[in-house]
Symmetry: C2
């Protein structure tokens, strides 16, 4: 049996976040001590680790809800789990693409070495969209 603090230390999930997940229905309401404090089992620990790990990989709460459901049915085919992960991969890739475009643009405008605002490439570019090299 773990207290919420111990669970937090073992999983790296902050205490208020654990309570938040409980509220969102991602984890079951655990048992309570006589004094009404939460007491977790190993099952609770592994479920929370699953959630933590999924969040690290950037899955949304709703994705995780689905993945958790799916993981409860070991005999079923795992197409659904795959499509959630594959969809997420596409989102990640599209974010990367966008950020790389931003990076290029920011690199370009921060290269400016004008002395003052009036001729500063940063300010000038922001003021005038026409100076951008790429669409965004």
């Amino acid at each position: 049996m773990f207290s919420i603090g111990q669970l937090s230390k073992r999983t790296g999930v902050k205490i208020p976040t654990i309570r938040y997940y409980e509220q969102m229905g991602l984890i079951d309401e655990p048992g309570r001590s006589e004094g009404n404090q939460r007491r977790y089992t190993k099952d609770g620990l592994s479920r929370l680790s699953f959630i933590r790990h999924s969040r690290d990989l950037g899955f949304t709460i709703e994705d995780i809800r689905g993945l958790l459901d799916l993981s409860q049915h070991p005999e079923e085919p795992c197409n659904d789990a795959h499509s959630i992960a594959a969809q997420h991969l596409r989102e990640v890739q599209s974010k990367i693409t966008k950020l790389r475009r931003l990076e290029r643009e920011l690199k370009r405008i921060t290269k400016c070495d004008a002395g003052n605002m009036a001729t500063c490439a940063v300010i000038e570019t922001l003021a005038d969209h026409g100076l951008c090299e790429t669409e965004h």
Copy 2:
């Protein structure tokens, strides 16, 4: 003089967002028609374009507040504008790095072709952090 709708069309910023920026103090309260509707000048238009463009480049509202302030002082040196942009560039680059790690991990786990949940790499990886290839 533009109505809020015209301003919205010219800048691509949605109407409620324009009002939101006003509330946040990013743009000045514009004049009003006799019937209390907002009326914008060219100055308002260029300020909003500046904001729009900055948001496209991923600057936060607070960053933009700073950049707008700086752009009002054309005679001053532009070191501050640069450091805001350079800092933002670093943040973008760090996001890219993280996302690339995620991408690698997601690619790996979605390659799984197990038939069912019990042996599915997606579920298994999420359940057991030890199976990850990289830290995240």
